[in-house]
């Protein structure tokens, strides 16, 4: 079963806010000068910010903010965030793989930016909605 795709807009302001809230102030997430110096195409989103957006999608699908039992991702490609009002977009899709005997739902998740996969092996195990 496919779940409805969730789309999240990501701007530089979001990265600044995430840096402050998470305590991850690595300048590759806010300085073009630093990002390009280390060989990146530009400022990139924190991998953990992308994972947090996927977590939002997962809790939305599960219908409860406390439903996540197990959650893992592999970071494969950076989400490049241009310094524009529009920023960029991350699309999160998922399919239900199975419902286990103990009432958990296993999701296989896809996260893409500009049509390219940014995560691989993204999976979540959630409590099935009550």
């Amino acid at each position: 079963m496919e779940l409805p795709t969730q789309t999240y807009r990501v701007t530089r302001a979001d990265l600044v806010r995430y840096a402050g809230a998470s305590g991850d102030f690595n300048p590759i997430h806010w300085s073009d000068r630093t990002a390009t110096k280390v060989g990146l195409p530009g400022v990139i989103a924190h991998g953990m910010f992308t994972m947090a957006l996927v977590g939002r999608a997962v809790t939305t699908w599960a219908g409860a903010p406390d439903a996540v039992v197990d959650f893992n991702v592999r970071f494969t490609r950076p989400v490049v965030v241009p310094d524009t009002d529009e920023g960029t977009e991350v699309e999160v899709a998922a399919v239900v793989k199975e419902v286990t005997e103990d009432g958990l739902t296993r999701l296989d998740i896809t996260a893409t930016c500009l049509g390219e996969k940014v995560l691989s092996q993204a999976r979540a195990l959630v409590r099935t909605p009550r």
């Binding site: 979001d14 809230a21 998470s22 977590g55 809790t59 409860a64 959650f71 893992n72 991702v73 970071f75």
Partner: protein
């Protein structure tokens, strides 16, 4: 410089307790756009059976990233942090993190490998309350890129 594989299996001393604040959960939830009332309103969280507001699923990284500095900064292991990229991340929950939790982290090095000139380091952080109640286990794989 390759990472020292003899570190596999090493466990570090427990970190100082981290006090999970209600406002920190609200700030983190707002930063990621998570608007569910249970992240913001204690009454909504209590309706789900929790004592206070519930953290979003990736919130523990705030605690574990700070805790894993004791590994990354271990001069004997030899991680060059300026060459680090995040590889994998996993959270395995016993229960969600809630405001009021006092969390202690125990870091263990699970895997150290070198492939194609790059170093790969997998750490497991067991997060529990000061009373010893397990909350979440967090795995993180970092890649230390080799000199090109």
């Amino acid at each position: 410089m390759s990472l020292d594989p003899s570190f596999v299996g090493r466990t570090y001393p427990p970190t100082a307790p981290y006090q999970v604040g209600r406002e920190k959960i609200r700030e983190f939830a707002a930063a990621i756009g998570a608007t569910d009332p249970a992240h913001h309103d204690p009454a909504a969280a209590r309706a789900l059976g929790h004592p206070d507001v519930v953290a979003p699923p990736t919130f523990p990284v705030i605690v574990t990233m700070a805790a894993s500095q004791q590994i990354v900064d271990d001069p004997a292991l030899g991680v060059d942090y300026s060459r680090v990229v995040h590889g994998d991340q996993r959270f395995a929950y016993t229960r969600p993190v809630v405001a009021g939790d006092e969390l202690v982290c125990v870091n263990t090095i699970e895997e150290v490998t070198t492939r194609g000139g790059h170093g790969f380091l997998t750490t497991r952080t067991d997060v529990s309350t000061v009373a010893g109640e397990p909350v979440v286990a967090v795995w993180s794989k970092i890649v230390v890129r080799g000199e090109a």
